[in-house]
């Protein structure tokens, strides 16, 4: 029997979480080392499967590294994991962030045991969501994540942390309830929980218990809360702002991506016809999300809140790319999911460093820090330029593919106008990103920050790891798009 890569990747972090929680008398330093080792191995394995992934065109639509075991036979539920071009990049992203958030959390000294247990449990649940090919398994992983995130925000957070944490939980559960209703309706209609079978056979042969479009929107709303999509986004700024740095990185970098992934894997793949019918509406929502998010971002004066709102805007591009329903636009949407994970993950990581080192997060009180923390200034600027879509960063490659794909899409009429409106978001992005960089790093040097430290060695290592990926994908996007395309191809053939 071959080595079960995916199971190992998914469950190693939770094994570490159990070890950390259960073994008595572990020192803080040892806990951190265990966490680092048990997240580093999944990262290496994820890179191995990325390299070993069959990229030939005959592999289009094929699931690789598949593991399929009967799980609950009476429900027809399977323990079914596998990767194709759609989720492989997201597994790599999550494994990468999972390891780096451990490094980012190296200076945590409050209740270390609980903190790392939560962080590791969360990584397993997100990886599980991205690997699962069975709807029940998917939902299970989807729900697990809420609990550790709640504790991370409410215990290790800042500001109105209790409010934000409970808001996050209730909002997420609201979304999941609808999603569960959608999954059950799908199950009672078809008797299957396999995403692949449902996508392959189509729903045409079944008599749905409730209209297909209702099932579609139950599922869509669940995912839309997570992505988030206007007007279901208000949990995000609160949760991102008040979470600890690692929590924000995980939230913005990997967690909200589950929403976009769900839309592609379930809404579009299983309901291609419904997606086509409602594409115009969803594209309009995407444009509203983009511009509304960007407008609100321009009004923020809190460092983390600004980055959080920019995510709302950037996720609008994901939605646009998905429901433009073209091969190029879907590829762009997945690339944008990946790219935004790295760029915004880095922005939050560096913002966390700035806040940790200066003790200040109000943009009106910061300034001139490029003199005191030059390395951090460079890294933050690169991440910022990625966020505003500068060529040679992954942000440009992704957004460009979304735009070119949407503009040329033949499914939604008048999409050219919507695409152009969405591109205005990029102009606004230049405004808020450059304003933020100026507020933090430029302008006269302030004396009160004279003793402030720049990044230390560990921080430099993880920051440059982020930058390396952002630039690599930006300069040669084919490294990912060749893979993504294999996953997108079967979907596009369903869309006709």
């Amino acid at each position: 029997m071959s080595f079960n890569y995916l199971s190992t990747i998914v469950f190693l972090p939770v094994v570490a979480a159990i070890l950390i929680a259960a073994l008595p008398k572990l020192s803080d330093a040892l806990i951190k080392r265990i966490a680092a080792v048990f997240t580093f191995i999944p990262l290496i394995l994820a890179i191995i499967i990325f390299l070993r992934f069959d990229r030939s065109s005959s592999a289009a639509g094929a699931i690789q590294f598949e593991e399929n075991l009967a799980w609950i036979p009476s429900l027809n539920a399977f323990y079914h994991l596998g990767v194709d071009g759609v989720n492989l990049p997201l597994v790599v992203l999550t494994a990468f962030l999972g390891f780096l958030v451990v490094l980012i959390s190296w200076k945590i000294d409050l209740r270390v045991r609980g903190y790392f247990a939560c962080l590791l449990l969360m990584e397993t649940s997100i990886l599980g969501v991205f690997c699962a090919l069975d709807l029940l398994l998917f939902f299970l992983f989807w729900e697990i994540e809420v609990i550790p995130m709640y504790f991370l925000i409410s215990i290790w957070g800042s500001g109105r942390k209790e409010y934000s944490a409970i808001k996050y939980v209730i909002y997420t559960l609201f979304g999941s309830a609808l999603m569960l209703a959608g999954i059950l309706s799908l199950y009672f209609t078809t008797g299957s929980l396999s995403m692949l079978d449902l996508a392959k056979s189509g729903l045409g042969a079944f008599t749905p218990v409730i209209p297909l479009s209702t099932i579609f929107f139950l599922l869509f709303t669940g995912f839309a809360v997570k992505l988030p999509v206007f007007p279901l986004h208000t949990w995000l700024p609160d949760a991102h702002t008040d979470a600890p740095t690692a929590g924000s990185v995980m939230l913005a970098g990997a967690l909200i991506k589950m929403g976009g992934y769900g839309m592609i894997r379930i809404c579009v793949s299983i309901f291609p016809q419904v997606a086509r019918d409602y594409a115009s509406l969803l594209v309009i929502i995407a444009v509203v999300s983009t511009l509304y998010g960007a407008a609100l971002t321009l009004r923020q004066t809190d460092l983390k809140r600004l980055i959080a709102y920019s995510s709302v805007s950037h996720m609008g591009y994901v939605l646009l790319g998905i429901f433009a329903l073209g091969q190029v636009s879907l590829t762009g949407a997945i690339l944008q999911i990946f790219s935004h994970g790295f760029i915004t993950g880095l922005l939050f990581a560096v913002a966390g460093l700035v806040m940790h080192n200066t003790g200040e997060r109000d943009l009106k009180k910061l300034g001139g820090l490029a003199r005191q923390m030059p390395i951090i200034a460079v890294v933050f600027s690169v991440a910022g330029l990625g966020a505003l879509g500068l060529p040679s960063t992954s942000g440009f490659a992704a957004e460009f593919l979304v735009f070119v794909g949407s503009f040329s899409s033949t499914i939604v009429s008048g999409i050219q106008v919507y695409t152009l409106l969405a591109i205005l978001g990029v102009v606004l992005a230049a405004g808020y990103i450059l304003w933020m960089i100026q507020r933090v790093f430029y302008n006269p040097v302030l004396e009160q920050y004279n003793g402030v430290k720049d990044a230390d060695v560990l921080e430099k290592i993880y920051m440059f790891a982020f930058i390396a990926v952002i630039m690599l994908v930006g300069i040669y996007p084919a490294i990912l798009t060749d893979i993504i395309n294999l996953g997108v191809l079967p979907m596009v053939s369903l869309l006709g």
Binding site: I170, H233, W235, L385, P391, S392, V427, Q438, N443, N485
Partner: protein, 640 residues
């Protein structure tokens, strides 16, 4: 071997950027007496100069190769970059034709001279390595703009030069004015780039390609025509308007003078701001087949030329005068493209690059000596700084368009072609000649004439001529400011770029005066110089008196037509940030999030109400049960 050498033109400065960035992060400047300190402090400058020198040699070699080829085009194989099924296929390729090589020569020559000059100007600056890293990246990106054979990569490098411009304007980032100017430059040009990107998408959606040669071919054969072509051309032009600081997106360029002066010379005078002109020239077949688009280019260019010149008349900061002059000259180039053709616009770009870079280097040299850019604090520098004076004077004569300096030849072509097709713009362009002569010689007389007025009040010490490392590049540029125009005296520049026919040198050199137009423009230029002389040198007329005579105009020009106020205060601050965006924020807090919190508090309130029913009194529960049973019976009776 040949393709690799062409690639090297771009890769050499790029490698310099990478090396210098590493140096900037690792090597901190040490005091000069230290052993090896000199090399350690200056290494990045040497690397930059060596690599750009290499690019220059290769560019000259490419120029000669292209000239020798019968079709003037060198084929370079493409490299696959991104393929998505059969929907999208982008390859990375270079186009090497006359337009490319002209631009390569301009960029490498000016860049090399500016880098040499910068060794003196930036001497002792703590950001010395960072400066050269950015300058190398800029040069690489600018060469990329010249070489890219498809619109996507052109756009990539286009944004790259914009980034470098941002980084270099804000080089002294601790000064709020510099940081603001950098941000403004990036955002305003990005507004123009919005149109450029839209045009790229529009062209791709209609043709399925980004390749400039293919697109040009489609425009020529009619495969691309009508509204699509016009909108695409106008979109491309909007990118050019942003980058080349044309009306109404010109507002960023004067502010960009906050950057170090050599940066202004290279980026904001000779090369990057001319990229807009180059872009239009590169995609010229698209414009040529749309009358609307071509007319738009001509009108925007002609209007910008005179509009910017009026503001140049009243500025007291020498760099601002030059900045408005640059905008005005870029307007001329656009006018040339819109009325004449590629060769006419590009020829002015070619000449302008040398004399305008020289003017900026002169301004930098003057600033090096006096510590200020305010011409009211200068004066009398002709005796103290003879080299700077002479070279500045040559460049001014060239800019003014005095025969036989370079500027004369290209400006004359533009005015001639506008006379043939756009009479109104021709009149504007001719009036602009007078204004140009006036503001330029106003600057010359204020800076170099009369007696020294003390320089920057904060600085002490006597002004002196700049060191040779700064003077030599200026002298070389001064030579170019005279002779660069001779390339087209015989008409061979035009022929090289596919326009016009050749004549003998003598015929071109003197025969030009058989036409009345050069006489008119020369006369206007001389009148402008005389007026400047009368006011600022001989003082027959009082500047204050004339200022008060034309007070409304003076205020209008010196307040820059209130366009900064309109954009920054009214549109951005009041209408967008304070108005719409603020309104949306209120909506977000009170309506969207209000509904969420409302749902929560509604649930709690509802629970509070229902809680009252739970009194714990059995009698009350009994009463409710009774009412319930009764209600069921009634219902059954009525509907059963």
């Amino acid at each position: 071997m040949m393709p690799f050498l062409v690639w090297l033109i771009f890769l050499l400065p790029l490698s310099s950027f990478i090396i210098n960035s590493i140096i900037a992060m690792l090597v901190h400047p040490v005091s000069e007496g230290t052993r090896g300190g000199n090399l350690r402090n200056k290494i990045s400058g040497y690397i930059t100069i060596a690599t750009i020198g290499g690019s220059l040699i290769l560019s000259i070699w490419t120029l000669l190769s292209v000239m020798a080829l019968p079709h003037h085009e060198l084929a370079i194989p493409d490299i696959n970059w991104l393929v998505i099924g059969d929907k999208l296929s982008i390859s990375l390729g270079l186009i090497v034709n006359p337009l490319t090589v002209v631009m390569l020569i301009v960029v490498t020559v000016v860049s090399l001279l500016v880098q040499i000059y910068s060794q003196g100007y930036m001497h002792g600056d703590p950001g010395y390595h960072r400066y050269y890293a950015f300058m190398s990246l800029f040069t690489a990106s600018m060469l990329g703009v010249a070489l890219a054979d498809n619109l996507l990569f052109l756009y990539v490098f286009w944004e790259g030069v914009g980034l470098c411009s941002y980084l270099l304007i804000g080089f002294w980032f601790h000064r709020p004015a510099a940081a603001d100017a950098a941000k403004k430059a990036f955002i305003v040009t990005r507004l123009g780039d919005f149109g450029f990107l839209a045009a790229i998408l529009l062209l791709f959606a209609n043709t399925g390609t980004f390749d400039i040669t293919e697109l040009s071919h489609l425009a020529i054969t009619g495969g691309l025509a009508g509204a699509t072509l016009t909108w695409a051309a106008i979109g491309i032009f909007s990118g050019a308007v942003g980058k080349s600081a044309q009306f109404p997106l010109h507002v960023w360029l004067p502010d960009a003078m906050e950057g170090p002066t050599p940066v202004s010379a290279l980026i904001h005078a000779a090369t990057m701001v001319a990229a807009g002109v180059f872009l239009v020239a590169r995609t010229y077949p698209l414009f040529a087949h749309s009358v609307e688009a071509l007319t738009t280019v001509a009108i925007i260019g002609g209007v910008t030329a005179i509009f910017a010149a009026t503001m140049g008349l009243v500025m007291n900061d020498i760099k601002r005068v030059l900045a408005y002059s640059t905008i005005s000259q870029l307007g001329y180039m656009m006018l040339g493209l819109g009325t004449g053709g590629v060769a006419i616009g590009m020829f002015h770009l070619f000449n302008h690059a040398f004399f305008k870079a020289l003017l900026f280097l002169g301004a930098g040299s003057v600033n090096h000596a006096t510590g200020t850019f305010d011409m009211r604090q200068m004066g009398g520098l002709r005796k103290i700084m003879p080299w700077t004076y002479v070279t500045f004077l040559i460049a001014s004569l060239s800019l003014t368009g005095i025969w036989p300096f370079a500027g004369f030849w290209s400006k004359d072509d533009i005015i001639l072609s506008s006379m043939e097709s756009q009479p109104i713009l021709f009149v504007l362009a001719t009036i602009t000649v007078f204004m140009t002569a006036f503001y330029m010689f106003r600057a010359v007389f204020l800076t170099f004439g009369g007696e020294y007025r003390g320089g920057d009040p904060g600085s002490h010490g006597h002004p002196h001529e700049s060191p040779p490392v700064m003077v030599v590049p200026m002298v070389i540029l001064a030579v170019l400011a005279v002779v660069s125009g001779f390339w087209n005296v015989t008409g061979s520049f035009g022929v090289f770029l596919g326009h016009g026919e050749t004549r003998s040198f003598v015929e071109g050199f003197f025969g030009i005066f058989t036409h009345p137009l050069p006489w008119i423009s020369m006369l206007l230029a001389v009148l402008g110089i005389l007026l400047a002389y009368a006011i600022y040198s001989a003082r027959w007329l009082s500047a204050e008196h004339i200022g008060s005579l034309f007070k409304p105009l003076y205020i209008l020009f010196s307040r820059k037509y209130w366009m900064d106020e309109l954009y920054e205060n009214i549109i951005v601050k009041k209408a967008l940030l304070g108005g719409i965006f603020n309104g949306l924020e209120q909506v977000d807090t009170h309506v969207v999030d209000g509904a969420v919190n409302g749902a929560a508090s509604g649930t709690i309130a509802g629970g509070g109400v229902l809680r009252r029913a739970q009194t714990g009194q059995l009698q009350l529960y009994g009463l409710f049960i009774g009412i319930g049973v009764l209600a069921i019976i009634v219902c059954l009776y009525l509907f059963g």
